[in-house]
Symmetry: C2
Subunit: 207 residues, 2 copies
């Protein structure tokens, strides 16, 4: 009664307006990702996620089996999204690895200035404490892949020590994101771009 009066058709329409996705599965992933971000993985319940996604707990469990699997799925989505960014970088500066590297620095700095949250993957790694959690493999694979991609671009750009430059840039961005969560955007993370560009310049010489 009361809220249940609204016809199912109308409710779905409302949800589509809010979230832009018709199928429950994707609505759940999208909604869960943003709720995990806002409240932390342990800070939001599956019931609240399902309701916010305009569906219910049963449908959620039918799709994902457990909250832990839902977490892993959300991270997989985020990882895919991040990996697709490299294609944009290559498209923006084709055949110019140094340009791609500097583009990566600029893109990371923009994201840092715009978005309050840190990296979902890294944050989850901090929040989870079970070694066998399904999300752990996703996190490790993603972080390793990101660093390796960075290293290959550094190598192509002719850096003196490409592995060291890649690790340095990786540590800088990772540190900037976590620092932003501790002291906000006015802290050391504001100097990320300057620090990163200096590291690149030192390794490949002035442009």
């Amino acid at each position: 009664m009361s809220r249940g009066q609204v016809s199912r058709r109308l409710k779905e329409t409302l949800v589509i307006d809010i979230c832009g996705k018709a199928r429950p599965r994707e609505r759940i992933v999208e909604t869960a990702t943003s709720l995990f971000r806002r409240h932390g993985i342990r800070g939001i319940g599956v019931d609240a996620i399902a309701e916010a996604a305009g569906t219910n707990k049963m449908t959620l469990y039918r799709h994902f089996g457990s909250k832990d699997e839902l977490i892993a799925e959300c991270l997989r989505h985020q990882a895919d999204k991040a990996e697709r960014k490299w294609a944009d970088l290559e498209a923006a500066a084709p055949g110019d690895p140094l340009g791609q590297l500097l583009g990566w620095c600029r893109l990371a700095a923009e994201f840092l200035a715009r978005e309050a949250q840190g990296c979902d993957l890294a944050n989850t790694a901090v929040e989870l404490h079970e070694d066998d959690h399904p999300a752990r493999a996703v996190i490790e694979a993603f972080k390793t892949a990101q660093r390796d991609k960075l290293a290959s671009v550094c190598r192509a750009a002719g850096a003196a020590e490409p592995e060291l430059l890649a690790d340095t840039l990786h540590l800088l961005i990772e540190g900037a994101r976590v620092s932003r969560m501790s002291v906000g955007p006015g802290g050391p993370s504001a100097r990320f771009l300057t620090a990163a560009e200096a590291a690149v310049r030192a390794a490949v010489g002035a442009r």
Copy 2:
């Protein structure tokens, strides 16, 4: 009954053997710190903390009022401990700020290799999501103070851009600690010392 048979005197003795502290308040802080580290702040209950500290929930609440206040107190302890390290650094290389800076790099790298956990303060910043949580002020003050101390040493060491060097080193160590939690000690965090020393060398010149 059963477990309660052991006299209070004996129980306290056992706890002293385990934890090295006689007074409940300090045992609780010590125990809570290590349990928060192992299970996460939301992953361990006050009851379990009290029991592990060889006391009980009522005593815990009489001392700290709430779990949130206990969290803040634990972080305060950790912050104090970390701030005391700077005195050791100064004592090891008195009047030699560059030596202190390199000593800081080496100390951080050693800690990184030895301890699996990241920074308790930073991890808590990631885990907590309430803006008005009592721990937030502790975290922000500590992180800011650490960066400022780093900056003053960089300045004394004659770095070309002391603020930038301090931010760079801060981002590197912060990134190394969080990276270690994502991909373990074999990842980019293993290159922290090399990257940090390179940054110092570039700003101060060869030693």
